[in-house]
């Protein structure tokens, strides 16, 4: 790989363009913390569930068809409640949900199996730079010209070549590891 991928600004998503993430964090975390406390959790539980909710919220905001029906803080609390139900195997009726919150769903692929997580760990150890490049390309929503500059490539063509090389590398690794991590291939 010809360039380092460090120093990519964090939270470069559609959501963060509309409201700085620090601001949203300060406004929304206390609500989630109060809910988690009520359910018997501690501050670490609150942080964990809130960070997952923020990830899901950002993904939703990046979908062109997504229309926010709540305030961002209310939506984050709704996601956090669903995550709590899922993570703690609690019945929905034990967690009060408003009618709008009941319409929130979690991404089906949000809870990867243990073997999938192991496969990701393997990929990280075998080619983190490629994962960083692919992440920047697919998820960090920078214009191509800016990405070329950020990642230190000579031009868009060389970045594009490296991206496909990385994609092939990940694909080959997944294929070669498919026997060891067979449940990922369902």
């Amino acid at each position: 790989m010809e360039a380092a991928t460090a120093n990519i600004p964090i939270f470069k998503t559609q959501a963060s363009k509309e409201q700085p993430i620090e601001e949203l964090y300060e406004a929304a975390f206390p609500n989630v913390a109060r809910f988690v406390k009520k359910m018997g959790g501690d501050v670490e539980d609150a942080k964990d569930v809130f960070h997952d909710a923020l990830v899901i919220y950002q993904e939703r905001c990046d979908q062109p068809e997504f229309r926010l029906q709540h305030s961002p803080e209310g939506y984050l609390l709704g996601i956090a409640k669903h995550l709590w139900i899922r993570k703690h195997h609690q019945q929905r009726k034990l967690v009060p949900l408003s009618s709008i919150e009941r319409e929130i769903s979690l991404p089906e692929d949000y809870f990867p199996s243990y073997k999938t997580q192991r496969l990701l760990q393997f990929l990280e150890s075998a080619g983190q730079k490629c994962l960083d490049l692919l992440r920047a390309f697919y998820y960090q929503k920078q214009p191509l010209k800016q990405l070329v500059k950020t990642l230190g490539y000579a031009n868009e063509h060389s970045l594009s070549v490296q991206k496909y090389k990385c994609l092939e590398k990940v694909r080959h690794t997944v294929k070669n590891q498919s026997v060891a991590y067979e449940d990922f291939l369902d």
């Binding site: 964090i10 939270f11 993430i21 620090e22 964090y25 300060e26 975390f29 206390p30 913390a33 109060r34 406390k37 501690d42 501050v43 609150a46 942080k47 960070h51 997952d52 923020l54 990830v55 950002q58 692929d109 949000y110 990867p112 999938t116 997580q117 496969l119 990701l120 990929l123 990280e124 994962l131 692919l134 992440r135 697919y138 998820y139 496909y164 994609l167 092939e168 990940v170 694909r171 080959h172 997944v174 294929k175 498919s178 990922f184 291939l185």
Partner: protein, 88 residues
């Protein structure tokens, strides 16, 4: 250009809606005839899934850094106090 390389680009365009209708039909016909191409597409989809999982993991690491900044910055004492009060 290598076949594998061309296929990688075509698979990406096929999966991300970047092929015009004719090219899409041609690609689908090739897939029907080529188990190797189908397998490449299968593993490429898995590769995208892993990149997504990696992205989520890194986002959570970045959020942890932000959390630590918020709970240690003297300028954010109001936020820190509100969280402390909740878990007292």
């Amino acid at each position: 250009m290598r076949t594998s390389w061309t296929d990688t680009i075509l698979i990406e365009k096929y999966l991300h809606g970047g092929l015009d209708p004719l090219a899409r039909q041609v690609f689908k016909a090739r897939m029907l005839q080529s188990p190797r191409l189908r397998l490449r597409m299968y593993f490429q989809k898995k590769a995208y899934t892993l990149v997504k999982l990696y992205h989520r993991k890194k986002l959570k690491e970045e959020m942890e850094i932000l959390h630590q900044q918020l709970v240690s910055d003297p300028a954010k004492s109001g936020f820190q106090q509100s969280i402390l009060r909740i878990f007292q």
